[in-house]
């Protein structure tokens, strides 16, 4: 494969998975992520991996559970309604401490909604999603290039912490064609020892992959261990980007596709002499709280922009913790905020 290629985000993700050493993919058709499933069908075949078009999203995530339990890097992808179906499996995998990568190219909801871009699944992604006390790492790329790179990162994080990792994009990011550099990891995919994997009990005791823990007090201990792990992830894996924050009156906050639009609004505002900055969370969980500290204590205002009724804004308010005013602008049901719309909101904040 050439180093510089033109690809849609979904395909960029697929190539990232292949170069990360993903050897198992199971998926089910749903728009707007079908390019990824088709790409994996082709590339798994070419790289001696396994591709299965499953009978449902539920079956797909459980096939991934099986492949992961057997010690192999595994991935599934879907879009919002399908991700709802996968929540059962994701909860089991978090409970079993099984690594996997799940891609959600969000579309408008609730229900069947539509197939246009949305960010309405933020809560579901960062608060756990399924039943029980657990978290998954959530990465939010904003370009095909990042989609490729974060997929490589996602597999490493999943194996490192033995936990599901989600890449949260939207239909815009998934289907837009962009040039990107394909840079495989220098020494090949990182290899993690998996002594827990089911390989057959040869020369060792039996391995059991389970999330049912019945002995009195044992499940609470297991939960404490999981929480310790989540605390460690919160300490070590926070990622985010800040632009012009120091030198600003208004700080835009956005992730994924919307962060790119917001960046353009910021530049338009700057051209008009308005001091506008941007905070862009890259890990949505763990949320980059600390990025807000300096800005929150220096009298700046925040404007959170999302393709939702206001979900990430709650985490921003928690991070700001009453130290500054936080406003919100959102579009729903497939509406995409334009640079001008965001700029108008910014200008209105200057008038108050």
């Amino acid at each position: 494969m050439k180093n510089k290629v033109l690809m849609c985000g979904n395909e960029a993700c697929g190539e990232g998975a292949v170069l990360a050493g993903c050897k198992f993919y199971a998926g089910y058709p749903i728009t707007p992520q079908n390019e990824l499933t088709a790409y994996m069908a082709k590339r798994m075949y070419e790289t001696n991996g396994v591709f299965i078009q499953a009978e449902s999203e539920i079956a797909a995530i459980n096939m991934v559970l099986g492949a992961s339990a057997a010690g192999v890097r595994a991935m599934t992808s879907s879009s919002s309604p399908g991700i709802s179906l996968k929540q059962e499996g994701i909860s089991y995998m978090a409970g079993c401490e099984l690594p996997c990568v799940i891609v959600n190219m969000q579309r408008g909801g609730p229900g069947l909604g539509n197939i246009a871009p949305s960010q309405g699944d933020y809560f579901q992604s960062v608060k756990g999603g399924g039943h029980g006390d657990y978290k998954i790492i959530v990465l939010a790329p904003a370009s095909a290039q990042e989609f490729f790179e974060y997929t490589l990162l996602a597999f490493d994080l999943a194996d490192k912490y033995r936990n599901p990792v989600m890449i949260l994009g939207d239909g815009l990011l998934g289907q837009m064609m962009e040039p990107l550099h394909i840079a495989p990891p220098k020494d090949g995919p990182k290899v993690f020892e998996k002594p827990w994997a089911l390989t057959g009990a040869k020369g060792r005791k039996q391995n059991i992959i389970r999330s049912l823990i019945l002995a009195e007090g044992a499940l609470e201990e297991h939960n404490k261990k999981l929480q310790e792990k989540f605390k460690l992830i919160t300490q070590d894996e926070v990622r985010g980007e800040t632009v012009n924050v120091k030198d600003s009156d208004v700080v835009l906050v956005a992730y994924g596709s919307v962060a790119r639009i917001a960046k353009a609004s910021m530049e338009m505002a700057r051209a008009k002499g308005l001091r506008v900055g941007l905070i862009r969370p890259v890990t949505l969980w763990p949320f980059p709280d600390k990025l807000f500290d300096a800005a929150a204590t220096s009298g700046k205002k925040f404007l959170v922009v999302e393709m939702s009724a206001g979900q990430m804004v709650e985490d921003v308010r928690l991070a700001v913790n009453g130290r500054a005013s936080v406003e919100f602008y959102g579009r729903m049901g497939g509406g995409i905020p334009s640079e001008e719309e965001i700029l108008q909101r910014v200008e209105a904040m200057y008038k108050v």
Binding site: I58, L65, G66, A69, G89, T199, G200, K202, S211, L212
Partner: protein, 266 residues
């Protein structure tokens, strides 16, 4: 059983269940079966089926290659009785989990152990499509006609007229529909290669069940594709009868609706 085996010295050479101490053959635990007190009710068939699986695994000397997938239901902690690798699956997703394992480890022997709620209700899509894809896995389907773990509710396999905690006046075909014959349903799928129904209500039937389970593993070892053994099993607790009567019920009632024998072999 111990008596019978003593009188049949041929068995000792063929089965891992029999070892000799001095010149005396005694009945013993298969290597694949852990030494543990099980949690099953008196007269339950699960213990017998667990053992038959372990005997087959020992006979084929595949303990170190086996990866089992345990269900949700009474047999959920089967891994505490078996001494080989086991994954737990969400309710009904057992064949999907087994598919993931077998596809990435085709050299291992992968089987699922499922009850009638797991396989014939919540997991119907997964079992049908695993069979239809011709996954080279073995399915052991224990059919006792009720949800045992949750307190004896109606299962898809509950017989007409059978009283359960959710069919208090007996299963009405008009209201609850008909008991499902999973093997006969799966038999129409070209991907399903070996389907047999057996029972564990008598020692004679237990031996037949053992042969069927062996055959199902052999199919997988020979890469012949999807095989499934349905085992009619007793649930005295939720049938509301003593163990012997429960065993008799399989003979007189359950097996007349669910006929024993090979449903499909190719």
């Amino acid at each position: 059983m111990k008596k019978t085996i003593k009188k049949t010295p041929m068995v000792k050479a063929q089965s891992s269940s029999v070892v000799t101490v001095g010149s005396e053959p005694i009945f013993t635990r298969p290597e694949s079966l852990r030494e543990a007190e099980n949690h099953y009710c008196a007269g339950c068939g699960h213990g017998i089926v667990h053992r038959l699986i372990c005997e087959a695994i020992d006979d084929f000397k595949i303990r170190e290659k086996v990866i089992a997938v345990a269900p949700v239901g009474c047999a959920v902690i089967a891994y505490e009785y078996w001494d080989f690798d086991v994954a737990e699956a969400p309710h009904g997703r057992t064949p999907a989990v087994a598919t993931g394992i077998k596809r990435v480890r085709p050299g291992n022997i992968v089987f699922t152990y499922q009850g009638d709620g797991d396989l014939a209700a919540i997991g119907t899509a997964e079992i049908i499509h695993a069979a239809n894809r011709g996954e080279n896995i073995t399915v052991i389907f224990v059919n006792n006609g009720v949800y045992g773990m949750t307190g004896g509710q109606m299962a898809p396999t509950t017989l007409a007229g059978q009283k359960t905690s959710t069919t208090i006046h007996g299963r009405s075909l008009r209201r609850e529909g008909y008991p499902i014959k999973m093997l006969e349903m799966l038999a129409v799928l070209p991907g399903a290669k070996y389907l047999e129904r057996v029972s564990v209500h008598s020692s004679h039937e237990v031996l037949r069940a053992k042969r069927a389970i062996r055959k199902a593993f052999q199919m997988q070892i020979e890469n012949k594709g999807f095989s499934m053994v349905e085992v009619l099993s007793m649930c005295p607790t939720y049938w509301g009868m003593p163990p012997i009567q429960a065993a008799d019920r399989i003979k007189s009632e359950v097996s007349t609706f669910y006929p024993l024998g090979v449903i499909k072999s190719c």
